[in-house]
Symmetry: C2
Subunit: 197 residues, 2 copies
């Protein structure tokens, strides 16, 4: 067993509920011309926020997910990140992709108060990953793109394999897992977690 | 890393979707006097089956889960086994319990075609567990009640800790995980799995 790794920066593990990233053009199609996303809650990564705006997703089999949260600020690619449980509810198999790598994936229809926006592709389950600075990468002895593991404690604990390291000077040390992963282990704020190679 | 354990019996890992176990009295309240559960599909454990009958669960906050599958044959305790994701949808926190240990848990209302049945307790998330024969327990070097681990491979693999061993001469070697656990790792029929102490 690896010993507990305690670096300069505290390890934060957050569950990402299903959400989407939108272009400004998509935001305007859904919420009206000139509309800008408004901040509902700032996220742990600098400058990132959950928007007040939510929308309705209509999947390829006409099944619906309501109140899908939009994360801001706007990006240059439209992408919906769901859990496998959501994919089963929608009736299709989600591809497991690194965020941004959406070539050849299925799309969906988005519905907002001002109109519809069709995504031709971009509905994925995001690969589990950890954000970190070069200083953190150095502490753990890894480099960008390496796979790490996360031990999550508690009465239904588990170890997540193949956690992708994403390294950038702007990143704060934070693991993102999805709701399936968070619910599989019943992750709570006080649950002990340990990141290791 | 442990070496691959290959016993006399093949290791089977199955995902248990949400379901309930009912007493004969509950079945009659829900489906009519004298009604007996009918077999939809035989399960891997001898004599156990998914019934054709399903029902509607109404949670303590009046939220609903439809098409809840009943597993047969009838037992002497009513129990509903859900995933944490279901608990979030219903709006309350599920207790993590060994199947059968339902003292002090919340109940729910069940609705069938012939009437309602109120469960005063028994809505749980079941502890992950593995069924095995004494021969299997001997192979793995464990005894009833011990905790084991299950490594699940694939692109979003993980290791489940604290898998409870349930040993009985009638049991076939089978791990039961729930849909959150199955979806966290994207378990497929061809996914390699390894059970170890």
């Amino acid at each position: 067993m690896p010993s507990l790794a305690t670096g300069t920066n505290p390890l934060v593990v957050n569950v990402s509920a299903r959400h989407c990233h939108l272009t400004q053009a998509a935001v305007e199609a859904l919420f009206g011309r000139g509309h800008e996303l408004t901040v509902h809650k700032w996220l742990y990564q600098e400058g990132q926020f959950a928007a007040k705006e939510t929308l309705t997703l209509i999947g390829p089999r006409s099944r619906v997910i309501s109140n899908l949260r939009i994360l801001g600020p706007c990006r240059n690619v439209n992408q919906v990140e769901l859990a496998y449980t959501d994919g089963i509810a929608l009736g299709f198999e989600l591809p497991l992709r690194l965020s941004g790598d959406i070539n050849g994936t299925l799309g969906c229809m988005l519905m907002g108060p001002a109109g519809f926006f069709e995504m031709s592709e971009g509905v994925i389950r995001a690969l589990r990953h950890v954000h970190m600075s070069p200083e953190d990468a150095n502490f753990y002895g890894i480099k960008a793109g390496d796979e790490m593991r996360l031990r999550i404690g508690g009465r239904c604990g588990l170890i997540l394999d193949k956690l992708l390291a994403r390294v950038d000077a702007a990143f704060k040390l934070e693991v993102h897992i999805d709701t399936d992963e968070g619910n599989a282990c019943g992750l709570q704020p006080e649950t002990p977690c340990e990141l290791f190679k």
